[in-house]
């Protein structure tokens, strides 16, 4: 069940954002590296809602950078890869790819037909049962209730059989062929999984809050964008699938002066939603750069005395 994708995982850089398109990469990074990202696509099975979303997974620049620094992933210029890759596609590969898709489509069609068959059988069985019941009822000497009950039974038949018959007709006729069209999630195949050196991009640019992000992540927290609670990062003690977040994280520079009201506002908001307001930053070293290993964090709660 636990699939391990080949490392390094390519992270697609498209128009200033970082995306993952492979479900295996998404589950692997979530399980092993506590990187959740934000699902931003529409789920094709239930497309008219915003509660459950699907691929692609959008990564924060901080997440992408962390993965690259760990050597788990690399940043790939996806636009270039697609353009160059598709242009230089060999005739042979193209045919092979189309054959693969066709067999996938056939397989999917078979599965769906099987399922339809099962459903039809179930429906037929139901009708048989109803028929038997109706017969049993008819044989009972109940002349007063006979008329209307029979009528309703007939109606039921009409409703049940209507769509059933049409589906049977269409499946037997099948003028459209027996292959489902498939839109794959990823582009490999036909493109190669590994990227060449000139397709790779340097480390992502990250905001100055990166040391705090890296620190919290190294402590085992799962982090997500904090916009909904007016902070920079929401820190979850475990996988957000199963746990509520504990902290609203805001980063500050070591000698940065900020308004006391920021603490009051953050502290009140955090306490109001049963989370701690967390402020932290990297201690300045001699060379002036913030060192992730020297991050200090403070948690603020509203006393409510």
């Amino acid at each position: 069940m636990d699939i391990e994708p080949t490392l390094p995982i390519p992270i697609s850089y498209i128009a200033g954002s970082y995306f993952l398109f492979s479900i295996d990469a998404v589950t692997y990074l979530r399980r092993e590296h506590h990187i959740c990202g934000v699902l931003s696509g529409t789920l094709p099975q239930i497309p008219q809602q915003n509660v459950f979303l699907g691929l692609p997974l959008k990564l924060m620049p901080e997440e992408a950078r962390l993965l690259v620094e760990k050597g788990v992933a690399c940043i790939v210029d996806e636009v270039k890869v697609q353009k160059d890759g598709m242009r230089s596609l060999m005739e042979e590969d193209r045919k092979k790819y189309l054959r693969e898709l066709e067999s996938q489509g056939q397989h999917a069609m078979r599965l769906q037909n099987d399922r339809k068959e099962q459903q039809r059988e179930k429906a037929l069985k139901k009708i048989e049962e109803k028929k038997a019941k109706a017969k049993a009822r008819k044989s009972e000497p109940l002349p007063a209730a006979d008329g209307p009950s029979e009528g309703s039974v007939v109606d039921l038949f009409a409703n049940d059989q209507g769509p059933d018959q049409t589906s049977r007709r269409s499946s037997t006729a099948a003028p459209y062929g027996t292959v489902m069209g498939v839109t794959p999630a990823t582009s490999y195949p036909p493109l190669p999984y590994e990227s060449s050196a000139e397709q790779r991009l340097p480390l992502p640019d990250v905001p100055s809050s990166y040391p705090l992000f890296a620190h919290l992540h190294s402590e085992g927290y799962f982090l997500s964008p904090g916009l909904r609670f007016g902070c920079q990062y929401l820190a979850y003690p475990g996988d957000p699938l199963r746990f509520h977040s504990h902290f609203l994280g805001v980063s500050a520079e070591w000698d940065e002066e900020f308004d006391l009201m920021k603490i009051v506002a953050g502290g009140r908001l955090g306490t109001g939603v049963k989370k701690g307001f967390l402020i932290g930053g990297a201690e300045k070293t001699e060379d002036g750069a913030g060192d992730p290993s020297s991050v200090r964090t403070f948690s603020i709660e509203w006393g409510g005395m």
Partner: protein
């Protein structure tokens, strides 16, 4: 009890009686809840599951580990669901990287019959948006009621966000054109038979003609909720927003118009108006005071901003504080050929690059670019608070932080126009100081 965390945030607002429903999409949902939906039974059960219970913090129990791995497995299953197109309902689009162009057969015909126009510039002369980049030859399905533009060859052209949205939801099969996959014999825009993957579609359409990932998040988010959403004239930075032409100041009736009573009132006011300077003596003056209204009026010495008077020429709204989308509620009848006035106007802001609240001049310019929408109607005329909340102009700011969207409604309220001291007198009948509703 599972949502105590989010319930707590609404606690203070209980007294106001205005409950905001907990938004399920605010939190990561347990994908196990999806298991209860059997997807393949053709939309018979399309209700969403209830949210699951979450634990406070991880503990080393096997039970918790099992639940978590079940959740992850459910998520994996849900996300690896394929996008399939049944041949009966398959809608095929073809990517046209160089923008709209007539079909090859028509091109040939053109050159044979009339050689005066051998090559039309892309997009022009076809009545198609120049940014459109996917065409669909067999537009079937309800989506095309509000999406796309048809050309005279019965093909529907899609903008990048429309194409990407339809592909994402599994309603459209987009093909690479022959020119992009190295077919030797292929024409620019002919179907090569190779479907575009989700990944390829993102790479091809995202970043194309002003479509940022923030704008796309907003677009799909609202589409999924059932809104109709189309590009506004302010989409491209260089284009002047055409909306401003709509926003001509409406001829609002001036307070105390030229009725006889009005003239009499003005005369009275003039008589009892105290000296304008307050340096010497009290503000209300020493004259004879016949009504409280006059005293209150003379006390209002602080100048206030009237949103109904627009500055001319209106300041230019600058990116990102420009209206980029027009939104229509699902209940609004929408016609592609003649879109009605939008229900909402929306600007998209990236929270990562714009970390501060917009300045007054940015907001002012943004609001000026929207037409005047005064608080009229039966409810509005009764309730002062509703009027203030509705404002005279309004716009929606969609703030996007790495895929997470928050919507803020900004309204231009006119506190100066609401004279509280008159509220008592004018209750029941419409006050003369209020703008008369204009039939719009």
């Amino acid at each position: 009890m599972a949502d105590t965390d989010e319930a707590a945030i609404h606690m203070p607002s209980q007294d106001s009686g205005m409950h905001i429903d907990t938004d399920l999409s605010d939190e990561t949902q347990d994908f196990r809840m999806l298991n209860s939906i059997s997807f393949l039974t053709d939309g018979s059960q399309q209700t969403l599951p209830k949210r699951g219970e979450k634990d406070f913090e991880p503990n080393p129990t096997l039970f918790q580990a099992d639940v978590l791995s079940a959740s992850r497995q459910a998520m994996h299953n849900a996300l690896s669901y394929p996008r399939l197109h049944h041949p009966k309902t398959q809608v095929i689009g073809v990517f046209a990287p160089n923008g709209p162009a007539p079909p090859r057969s028509a091109q040939k015909l053109d050159t044979i019959t009339e050689e005066s126009e051998p090559s039309k510039p892309a997009g022009t002369g076809m009545g198609i948006h120049a940014d459109a980049c996917v065409y669909v030859s067999n537009p079937k399905g309800q989506y095309f009621k509000s999406i796309g533009q048809a050309d005279r060859w019965n093909r529907v052209w899609l903008l990048p966000e429309e194409a990407l949205y339809l592909l994402e939801r599994g309603s459209l099969d987009i093909r690479w054109p022959c020119s992009e996959v190295g077919c030797a014999d292929g024409d620019e825009t002919e179907d090569s038979g190779i479907p575009m993957s989700l990944q390829a579609a993102h790479a091809a359409f995202m970043g194309r003609s002003g479509l940022t990932s923030e704008r796309f998040s907003v677009y799909t988010g609202l589409r999924r909720l059932g809104y109709t959403i189309v590009r506004a004239p302010g989409w491209h930075d260089e284009e002047e927003s055409a909306d401003s032409s709509e926003s001509e100041p409406m001829s609002l009736e001036k307070p105390q118009s030229a009725s006889l009573v009005g003239i009499f009132n003005q005369l009275l006011q003039w008589l009892y108006r105290p000296s304008p300077t307050t340096a010497l003596g009290p503000v209300a003056g020493l004259g004879i005071h016949r009504s409280y209204d006059n005293i209150y009026r003379s006390l209002s010495i602080i100048p206030w901003y009237d949103p109904t008077t627009s500055s001319s020429p209106p300041p230019r709204a600058t990116a990102p504080y420009r209206v980029v989308f027009h939104i229509y509620k699902p209940s609004t009848a929408f016609k592609k050929s003649a879109p009605p006035a939008p229900d909402f106007r929306l600007a998209v802001v990236n929270a990562r690059t714009h970390t501060t609240f917009p300045t007054s001049s940015q907001l002012g310019a943004l609001l000026e670019s929207t037409p005047l929408d005064p608080p009229v109607g039966e409810k509005m005329s009764r309730q002062l608070y509703m009027r203030l909340r509705h404002g005279y102009r309004n716009v929606i700011l969609a703030v996007v932080d790495e895929g997470v969207v928050s919507y803020l409604r900004i309204a231009d309220s006119a506190f100066g126009k609401e004279n509280i001291y008159k509220e008592k007198n004018t209750r029941g009948n419409k006050g003369p100081w209020r703008p008369r509703p204009k039939g719009r």
